[in-house]
Symmetry: C2
Subunit: 186 residues, 2 copies
């Protein structure tokens, strides 16, 4: 059975070497040398100098059936041999976002911000997995951890995609965001 729970351990070990850590808004994350992605619960511990972020994959909260069908048709899995670049982007949304109702959030998410459509435009090049943190406990430092994998030749496209998302209405609700770029070194 495949796990839904993932831990991202920033420290001195792991196959992913950190190329750059850039804090866009809010409190920074400590700079680390490497990242370990641990699948499943209770396997990882906080490194002496570094951090541990954890999240759980979940049901989709905004995607509708027609969008889902297109997503499933176009998207690629993680772990493609050519996808030697990765990004971990932890974000937190502010209290105003969480006070909105489902229809209001969906309206901003897709109606105004076209979050799903922007993502679709970059498939199949960019593979991604979204992890939710908010309901694991009351004290998680972020609401979402998104993990992206892509080939070096698609890095330009990846940056373009982020630029579009960050310019959207939805991003006005984000009060913490860190962008960690990595390369695989097995």
């Amino acid at each position: 059975m495949s796990t839904r729970f993932f831990q991202f351990v920033g420290g001195d070990t792991g196959v992913w070497r950190v190329v750059k850590t850039h804090t866009l808004i809010g409190e920074p994350l400590l700079d680390v040398a490497r990242l370990d992605v641990v699948a499943g619960q209770d396997n990882a511990s906080q490194p002496d100098s570094g951090w541990l972020l954890r999240g759980i994959t979940s049901n989709e909260r905004y995607v509708e059936r027609a969008e889902k069908n297109t997503l499933v048709e176009k998207q690629q899995g993680l772990g493609r041999p050519e996808a030697t670049c990765a990004a971990l982007i932890p974000i937190r949304k502010n209290a105003a976002w969480w006070a909105l109702t489902q229809d209001e959030r969906r309206h901003i998410f897709e109606g105004q911000s076209q979050h799903i459509q922007i993502g679709l435009d970059y498939l199949p090049a960019i593979a991604r997995r979204l992890h939710h943190c908010r309901d694991i406990s009351e004290n998680e430092p972020f609401d979402f951890l998104t993990w992206f994998e892509f080939a070096p030749t698609d890095e330009e496209a990846f940056n373009q995609m982020l630029m579009q998302l960050r310019a959207s209405e939805e991003w006005q609700y984000i009060d913490r965001e860190v962008d960690i770029r990595l390369v695989r070194e097995a």
Copy 2:
């Protein structure tokens, strides 16, 4: 700051005395004498003979703005002196439910099952708090824990409300449900 994390400890202690435990579908929960409701994290431990269920309150997943306004206007808080009866109803939804998209789930939840409208009909008599479990970890025994409080004179109405919900399309996706009735004995 008010907590979002709650633990329900079934055992020998707590101000709530268990009157009846009824398993409607799926694996039963052990019969216990009393229930303790613990607010906040890391305060409770699994009793020697009994169980511990935990959940976290969250943003609303289906309610739309107009419904929310009516809810806020009509609903009462927990802890009313006259509300000496309570019910804890843990439920789990099946894989088919979680594979649905947001629009499909909302359609079944309110379009077909009128979950929100049925609940509104019983306000302000029945106070409730919904706790999510599914994203706390991979191994939670239920998806949702709902806690209800009401006066003894409203028990009949409470049973009526449950009957309506259980007859709905939405309940066809439920594969585990236990109904624990309690009275407050301080």
